[in-house]
């Protein structure tokens, strides 16, 4: 009986609990379900995209993004089991060299912290070390735990330590082509140059990993992969760029602190452009900066000066000046280089036929103003060619008078002076307000304009206009990127050369080539001619404002070879650091050195006889180049090639790297028949970086797989393209 009562009580209790359960599930279902879902990790995680690389014409990497990792500690997850703390902190201390004591302190003070970045931007190798450690440790711990009693159980390394992915931008060549490339911080926001101009192209789309609840309220995770950014194949050739930078640096070093404290010049700009398609092969300026460390001013300023700048708030101003690309952002009066444009205008309009003669007495009075010639004693009687050769201001003022303001201004517009060239680089200056128009151009302005004073240009404007003067009259839009490819190496977009207009007829262009050739062969540009080559060009020495005859911009613009122009080279030196500035020889010297190396590199052969003196000079120059690269001595005769080849064999045997041996052989051959060849930063055959010290393929392999053959093809195509207009020009 009592048993039945007890059973009743028990049943009642069960009934009560059943009711309680029912009420709980009925009333709180949605509430509690939300609570549970809220502590599930279905918030999303960003998967960063990889910003596209920037390659040079040979496929060598100029800029690339590297995946790095941030070490993150999630104390809460770690302390799921208190025994985990010890092994996990040990692992951190051991793998990342972190201070054990500080870690313990942090965990003790912030046991619920979920996101604590312990170390930033470690490379994959360091992460690998940790993963390896974790794996071995956990295996041991688990083996131990299966057998151990509760007290003997040891902690494991759980996912309380995780790695956040990030990309950082790397520039394997540091300062090389810094103005063209520009730089990008971790925010993927490019500044200056290609990085800024093509920012959207280089950037991809972030991926996401997120959880969501399906129809049955079960958590599912989905990953949307990141879309990597596109890679730019630029027209810049790293080797040409390196040659150019070497010589402008050399100029700087030679004239550093010469007439005043400071660099060899305020600015040195240099552009090499393929005149038959507008490809920029090289664009450099000095001072340059390290792209991997753009805020480092220590190359040019002492610590004290930097501190002072910070105090005076001029720090960023100084940096900005350093970062801007002189070749496209800075304007100046072109000086006599503009005479090529004036003459071309005269010929094209028919106001000058070519048989005129000009009398120069050392100056000309225009509207009650005496404007002097560059030679105060006067040039005497000059024909048209002689005027250009001697760069006679009086003759050109007379030409300008003959052409007339209207025509001169019209052709300025045709040559795109005062308009942007729309080169694909960030920061091109607008010069519209810096040139004359019909209402502002009086006789005096007409006179000065005809020899390149009074109006401002950018280097890229001049180089592009000049290209059209000598290439048969085709005005190509200058550009730095030839192709955009995706992360698989497939072409997304080819950027073809664009002829914007015909500036002058091909006959006028032909005439101009002869005049400009003469200007170098017999005129002021003589010192720009590299031994063995025939080039054309024009020097420029422009007075700066204030016109106190002390501050000058000296320059030279030229093309090579003279009969079939392939490249235009333009060098501008803003106030060389010398006592006597107005000598274009400072610019022609750099041009000569650069062309002496670049022309053979471009497989342009020497056509002119060389005097013994020239030959010696050339040997000297090349000898210097070769000697400066430790591995190569005076590589001239077969002996040397023989000596190098066994060396190469030995290397091949050691490393078993066929490519290396091949490269060596090629070099040996070149040296044997070409008479010494300098080392390049990039192997022109393979597009691989070369270690400047050993001459071997560089350790860091930034070589881009897809770019090699592509780059080669691109180069071929350029050559083929280049031939067609040149032939046109010849007719």
């Amino acid at each position: 009986m009592k048993l039945a009562v007890m059973m009743l009580i028990i049943l009642l209790a069960f009934a009560g609990l059943g009711a309680r359960l029912y009420v709980l599930t009925r009333d709180n279902r949605n509430d509690y379900q939300k609570k549970i879902l809220s502590h599930l990790d279905y918030n999303s995680k960003t998967l960063p995209f990889k910003r596209g690389s920037i390659l040079d014409a040979n496929g060598t990497i100029l800029a690339t993004s590297e995946k790095v990792y941030n070490v993150v500690l999630d104390c809460r997850v770690m302390l799921d089991d208190e025994k985990n703390e010890e092994p996990m902190l040990d692992a951190l201390a051991q793998c990342f060299g972190l201070d054990r004591g500080e870690l313990t302190k942090y965990v003790k003070e912030n046991p619920t912290s979920q996101y604590y970045v312990l170390k930033k931007r470690i490379p994959y190798e360091e992460r690998e070390v940790f993963e390896e450690y974790k794996k071995t440790y956990n295996e041991q711990a688990r083996q131990n735990n299966v057998k151990a009693s509760e007290e003997e159980r040891v902690g494991i390394i759980n996912h309380g330590i995780w790695f956040e992915e990030e990309y950082i931008r790397r520039y394997p060549n540091n300062t090389l082509a810094c103005d063209v490339i520009g730089f990008t911080g971790t925010d993927n926001n490019g500044q200056f140059g290609l990085e800024e101009y093509y920012n959207d192209v280089l950037n991809g789309t972030n991926g996401r990993e997120y959880g969501y609840l399906n129809d049955d309220a079960i958590l599912e995770r989905t990953t949307v992969a990141a879309m990597d950014g596109y890679t730019l194949v630029s027209t810049i050739d790293a080797n040409i760029q390196a040659i150019v930078e070497k010589y402008i640096k050399q100029f700087n070093d030679e004239h550093m602190n010469e007439a005043r404290e400071g660099l060899g010049a305020f600015d040195i700009g240099f552009i090499i452009m393929d005149c038959n398609n507008g490809n920029i092969l090289s664009m450099a300026s000095y001072p340059n900066y390290d792209l991997n460390n753009p805020k480092d001013l220590s190359m040019y300023y002492t610590e004290q000066q930097i501190k002072q700048m910070e105090e005076e708030d001029t720090y960023y101003k100084t940096l900005n000046e350093l970062w801007r690309n002189f070749c496209i952002s800075d304007t100046y009066e072109p000086g006599s280089t503009a005479k090529a444009l004036t003459l071309a205008t005269g010929l094209e309009t028919g106001r000058i036929v070519g048989n005129e003669t000009y009398e120069c007495g050392g100056g000309l009075n225009v509207q009650d103003r005496d404007i002097s010639c560059n030679v105060l004693s006067g040039h005497g009687t000059l024909d048209v060619s002689g005027s250009l050769e001697q760069s006679c201001n009086v003759a050109f003022m007379k030409m300008g008078e003959a052409i007339g303001a209207k025509n001169l201004l019209e052709f300025e517009k045709i040559f795109n002076i005062g308009l942007k060239t729309n080169i694909d680089l960030a920061g091109e200056a607008r010069t519209a307000s810096l040139v004359f128009n019909e209402s502002t151009m009086g006789p005096v302005e007409l006179a000065t304009s005809s020899f390149g004073q009074g109006f401002n240009v950018t280097m890229i404007e001049m180089a592009t206009a000049f290209s059209s003067v000598i290439n048969g009259g085709y005005y190509y839009e200058p550009h730095v990127v030839s192709k955009i490819i995706n992360s698989n190496g497939d072409t997304v977009k080819n950027i073809e050369p664009r002829v914007l207009k015909q500036t002058i007829s091909s006959t006028t262009s032909e005439q101009m080539r002869q005049y400009l050739y003469a200007a170098v062969a017999q005129g002021t540009g003589r010192s720009a001619r590299p031994a063995g080559y025939a080039i054309g060009g024009k020097t420029g020495t422009a007075e700066k404002v204030p016109r106190d005859k002390k501050h000058y911009v000296v320059s030279f613009i030229g093309f090579a070879p003279a009969d079939d122009p392939q490249i235009v080279a333009y060098c501008v030196i803003n106030e060389p650091n010398v006592a006597d500035q107005p000598h274009a020889t400072y610019a022609t010297g750099i041009i000569k050195n650069v062309l002496t190396e670049v022309l053979p590199y471009l497989h342009i052969t020497r056509t002119e006889e060389m005097t013994i003196a020239e030959q010696e000079e050339l040997d000297n120059l090349l000898g210097n180049i070769v000697a400066s690269d430790s591995q190569n001595k005076d590589g001239q005769d077969g002996d040397n090639a023989d000596k190098d080849n066994p060396d190469a064999d030995a290397e091949g045997g050691d490393g078993g790297d066929g490519q290396d041996a091949d490269g060596k052989e090629n070099e040996g051959e070149d040296r044997a028949d070409g008479g010494g060849k300098p080392f390049y930063v990039v192997d022109p055959e393979t597009g691989e970086l070369i270690d400047p010290v050993t001459g071997e393929k560089a350790e860091m392999d930034y070589h881009y797989e897809g770019g090699d053959s592509e780059g080669g093809e691109g180069g071929d195509a350029q050559d083929a393209d280049g031939a067609a207009p040149a032939e046109d020009g010849g007719t």
Partner: protein, 387 residues
């Protein structure tokens, strides 16, 4: 040879025909279901901590197999001989409890409750439960044999209730295991309740207990609990779990979330989210909440129904038992199960404060499983000789 045979036949004359197979089936089902749920709830955490997701399952399987040996033995072992061990059972229980204080006692999960004899380790509190059942069944039967109302005299009550009280006290004092102490006292009271015809004393006791509970609740809900003992804090946490969601009531609240989110039909076996590290050690006390989450209200009620059948079967066996001792043994076991199941579910549903009582046959725990199966063996043994 023939002599012994015939003697045995006399003793187990009703064997084979009357053993309660329904009870056995229910128990086997519960055990199998328990193993399944242990794997379901613990595999994630075991994989994380031990590198072996079946770690807890394997451990439980070992004690279960051991338990089945004990079960088989107890089915064969005539329960009447147990009466000879009545005093020994209590004394041994007490000694084992005291041994926890010696170096033989070991601490696990922060509580010193285990005895480690190298080959085998167990919780003496579990032994004490079975010891108390045997003692009470025997002593009540003996007292009743002496005279009808002797058990109702103060002296009789003392003889019945003092040893269990001492055991419960030892459990509480030595092992700080209040839940086991409550169960031991509960078993004693229940057996006494069945043994005597009185009601008023029990009502008085229930009323007194109710008053005490009410007083404690009133105190806890008004008092500032900071600084007071953890039991009082538990009461406070029970009254207002949301306020203690980060520490004291964390487990309870997570269990409630699990139950609530399961709904009527549950999320499906293995689909619990709470077991993924949010409900710590879900395979222990709180396993019922994961059952609710995965199998819903429906599954939970099915499990409760199985326990009802189990207890009902025990009642039937107790009713039919040929002697008073066997009947009382079954009543003890029955009340043991009933108390544990009810208290466990009550804790999980936050009906009472958290005390840490496991769910028989389903919760993880080696010693508990072993002795629970032993008790089932005794019940089945009694059932064999039923009328």
């Amino acid at each position: 040879m023939a002599k012994t045979m015939s003697k045995k036949q006399v003793q187990i004359r009703h064997s084979r025909h009357n053993m309660d197979y329904i009870l056995l089936t229910v128990v086997l089902f519960l055990i199998a279901f328990g193993l399944l749920m242990i794997y379901s709830t613990s595999s994630y955490e075991a994989g994380e901590k031990m590198g072996d997701s079946a770690f807890y399952l394997k451990n439980q399987l070992k004690s279960t197999i051991l338990g089945f040996f004990a079960l088989a033995f107890m089915i064969k072992f005539p329960y009447k001989y147990l009466q000879k061990f009545d005093l020994i059972a209590v004394v041994v229980s007490a000694i084992l409890l005291l041994l926890v204080l010696t170096p033989l006692g070991v601490t696990r999960n922060g509580a010193r409750r285990w005895l480690d004899f190298k080959i085998i380790s167990f919780q003496p509190a579990e032994v004490a439960k079975i010891g108390v059942i045997i003692y009470l069944a025997s002593i009540i039967q003996k007292l009743e044999g002496l005279g009808k109302n002797i058990i109702r005299t103060p002296k009789g009550v003392a003889i019945v209730m003092v040893p269990p009280t001492i055991i419960a006290g030892l459990i509480y004092i030595i092992t700080r295991n209040m839940s086991s102490a409550i169960i031991v006292m509960g078993i004693a009271v229940a057996m006494l309740f069945v043994a005597v015809p009185d009601y008023k004393w029990f009502f008085a006791l229930a009323a007194a207990a109710g008053a005490v509970v009410f007083a404690v609740v009133m105190y806890a809900s008004n008092a500032d609990t900071t600084g007071s003992g953890f039991r009082l804090a538990r009461v406070s946490a029970w009254l207002n779990p949301e306020a203690y969601s980060t520490d004291k009531a964390f487990q309870t609240l997570q269990a409630l979330y699990a139950i609530g989110s399961g709904g009527i039909w549950g999320k499906g076996l293995g689909q619990s989210m709470q077991k993924l590290g949010f409900l710590p050690e879900a395979q222990n006390d709180m396993i019922f909440s994961i059952i609710c989450e995965e199998l819903g209200f429906f599954g939970a009620m099915a499990i409760i129904l199985l326990f009802v059948i189990l207890i009902w079967s025990c009642m039937v066996i107790a009713n039919k038992a040929v002697d008073r001792f066997g009947s009382l043994l079954v009543v003890g076991v029955m009340s043991h199960y009933a108390i544990q199941v009810i208290l466990n579910i009550a804790v999980v549903t936050n009906t009472i404060p958290n005390t840490g009582i496991t769910l028989p046959f389903i919760s993880y725990g080696g010693t508990a499983t072993l002795f629970l199966l032993t008790e089932i063996g005794i019940v089945l043994n009694v059932s064999k000789s039923c009328k």
